[in-house]
Each structure stands twice: as C-alpha cells, then as structure tokens.
Symmetry: C2
Subunit: 254 residues, 2 copies
C-alpha cells in the first residue's frame, strides 16, 4: 500500500510531509521591499532590465504576486521616482533673508536634484510614463522647502512659485538631456573620453555648415567634459537667480 517513498517526500503528490508549512511567517512581500528592490535593479542594470518577472525573481516571488502590492508597473515606477526625491538635501529656510544665503540654498537644491537625475539616469525614460509626479509626498515636501526658502528671502507667493518653476524647470531639462546622453553612450558600450577621440571628428565634420556650432565644438569640447558640464550648470542657475533677484529688487524699489 505504501506507494510513496519512506520519508513521504515523493515529488508531485502532496502529503502531510511535503506540503509547505507556515508560509505566513511574515507577509514576505511588502510595497516598500518591492520599491527598494526595483530601485536597486534600475540602478544596477538600467531601465530595460526592469520587468515584473525579473523583479519578482530577485525577491524570490512569483511575478504576479507583485500586483497585490502595486497596481501596475506605472504605479511602481511612480513610487520609485518619488522615493528618489525623498533622499535629496533639503536645507532649512532659516537665514534666507540674506541674498547670499538663499542663493546658496537654492543652488544646493538644484544641484541635489541634478545629481540625483545623473546618478539614476533611468529616471529620464520614466518621466513620460509618470505623469503627476508632483503629487508624490516627497516631491511635495521638496517643493515646500523650496517655497519656504524663497518666501523667507522676501518673495511673495507668486514670485516664489515663478522662481521655483524656473529653477526646477531648468534643472530637470538640463539634467534630462545630459542623462539621456550618458545613457546613450553607456548603451553603446563606449566611455565618454573614448567617444571624444573616435566620433567627435565626424561630428565636427557634420557641423561644418553651422559655423557657430562648429566653433563651439572645436574650442569648448576638449576641456574636461564632465567638469565642464557641472560648471555650465552652476552658471545657468546663477544666471536664473540673477534674474529672480533683480525682479525682487525692482519690486522693493517701486
């Protein structure tokens, strides 16, 4: 009668001994865990490596299990993106009455944001699918501190909003273009210096009918590239803040 082996572990037919036991030691899967693992996967392997199946595998789970914690892939991406903004430096508003101080704080905010995008360049491919980012709690918190700095500096609500959208718009736009550039390079397997040496000549050739662009490429580029971009960005923010500050001064005068 004993058709099964002695320890009862015959594969296939369930017996009291091989039946999985106490699966619920703890919930085993949580939204936070999923988001964190997705984050890690994105950072290490990039956007096209993130599939529900691969993500689940890294969590020792089935693909469809994820859907009990996350509505769909887009929602997951929205959660991951918002999480990024949670890790950004958020300076306190105190002392922002002094121009040098609030300018430094705004610069810190902008640079933190740019750094985050550059550190997680897959974000760029995701922005389009994640409308309504700025309803996420962390994005909201970030906006709030930005506004706090500006209003402490003396701007009224509308001016502070204008300044914020100018700086953040510039930051996002610049960083997106840069990040998509570096990921394109990475995907082609080349490093930036290598690209410089090998493809730049062709590009310069292609710009021949555009004299100003041509000059830009031939004179500006050979310098240290990444560092050059960093200082470019800083100068851009400074220019914007000059405009913002001038508007404040004008209002105070008249």
């Amino acid at each position: 009668m004993a058709a099964t082996s002695e320890d009862g572990t015959t594969p296939g037919i369930p017996t009291p001994w091989n039946r999985p036991q106490r699966r619920r030691e703890q919930p085993a899967l949580s939204r936070e865990q999923i988001v964190a693992e997705a984050f890690a996967l994105l950072d290490s392997d990039g956007i096209e490596a993130l599939s529900m199946r691969k993500l689940a595998a890294r969590l020792n789970a089935g693909a469809t299990s994820l859907y009990t914690h996350v509505a769909n892939k887009d929602e997951l991406l929205a959660l991951v993106v918002d999480q990024i903004f949670g890790g950004l430096p958020q300076p306190a508003a105190e002392g922002s009455e002094v121009p040098e101080v609030w300018r430094a704080k705004v610069m810190e905010l902008a640079e933190g944001m740019r750094a985050a995008i550059m550190r997680h360049p897959w974000m760029v491919s995701v922005i389009g699918d994640v409308g309504m980012i700025y309803l996420g709690p962390n994005w909201m918190r970030l906006s709030e501190t930005f506004l706090a700095v500006m209003e402490t500096a003396g701007f009224d609500t509308g001016e502070a909003n204008d300044a914020m959208s100018a700086v953040m718009g510039y930051t996002i736009g610049t960083a997106c273009v840069e990040a998509s550039w570096v990921t394109a390079l990475a995907r082609s397997g080349q490093d930036e210096q290598e690209w410089m040496n090998r493809l730049l000549p062709a590009v310069i050739e292609a710009t021949k009918e555009f004299p100003r662009l041509h000059r830009l490429y031939t004179t500006e580029v050979p310098e240290e590239v990444a560092a050059g971009r960093d200082s470019n960005f800083g100068r851009g923010v400074d220019v914007i803040l000059d405009g913002v500050e001038a508007a404040l001064a004008a209002r105070r005068r008249g």
Copy 2:
C-alpha cells in the same frame, strides 16, 4: 488539362496571370514615408500605439520590411523627434543688436519649442531613449540660429552657449513636466476641468501639512489653467533673459 479557372486567378498556385507583377514600380517604402507615418500614428494615438507591426500595417507593408530602412525602433524615434525640430520657427538674426529685438526672437524660439512639445506630448516618453538628440540635423540648425541671434546681440561664444542652454533647458524641463501631466490626464480619460472639480479637493487635502503648497493650490489654481501655464512660462523665460542681459551689461561696463 486546364485545371485552373478561365482567368487564371486560381488562388494558391502561381500562374503567369496572378503572379505579382512589377513589384518595383517604385521602391514602395522609404525612410521618409516611414518617419512621416510614425509621426502621424504617434500624434493620433500616442506612444503606446506605436509598434513596428501597426506602423507597417498602416503602410501596407510587412513589419520586418521597416528594418531595411531603419536600424531599429530607437533610431526611428530619433528620426521622428528630429523632424519635429525642423518645423519650428527660426527667426533670422538681423536686427538682434537691439535688446527688445533679440529678446523677442529668443522668446519666439522658446515658445515654438514648448508649443511643439505640447502638441506632440509623446515626445516626453521618448527623450530618454533618444540620447544624442542634439546631433540631429534639425536640432543643429535650431541651435545655430539660436547662437546667431545671441552673437548678433553682442554675446561672445561662451556667453551665447550659456544663454542657450539656460533657455533651452528651462523650456524642455518645463514642457516635459507639463506634457507628461496632460498625457496622464488624457490616459485617465478625464479632461482638465473635470479633474479640477473632482480630484483637486483631495489633492488640497493631501497638501495640508505643506502650508505654502497648500496656499498655492487654493489661491492660484482655480484661474484659467492652460492660459495660466502659458503666462507662467513666458514669465520664466523673461526672468532668465533678465539674468542673461544683466551679465552682458556687466561685461560691457567693466
């Protein structure tokens, strides 16, 4: 002996009469055609409707035929994106010595670009996959005219580049966020006014712990939304140009 029907069009077995004739009347498929049709498909049905198969079907072609004219989907997208920039207004540089004139021209460039992104909001989902946009011929032409305006206005090469990257960065960033917002709305099947009435209260509730954001939403939003964004954008560009102009004036003074 005549097993086929009288006109020789028996399906299945090839005869001199039903054999396809002169398939090469003209190449039947061209890169331009493919790009144009992809453009149309994207505009009418959005990014997730663009697949190689569907695109080919609209061209009465097999899916894999596209690959003889286009390396892969990413290349196709790059071509489509660059084509957008070909249709933008590109003011001549003449007269840009006068501040009012070059400011107007830069504004025209920025607004044209923003309008293009808003008119083709799928662009946002594509930016991440299309690194190296600014090597496309149309983007290059656009940059060249931008630089021409700035240099005619009296900026040197580096300053002109800074100004361009500030304005374009701001434009792209702002437009991307806005566009992804409107596509998210469109995908949810709601129109903006509807969203205002139905979900805004919940959002306002969610901003309760962020007083400044809360005030922004409660006071600013109810006004005409799209128009409000347009004027916001214009003010942002103006602020940036104030900063740019001040830098020029400072250099000229000392």
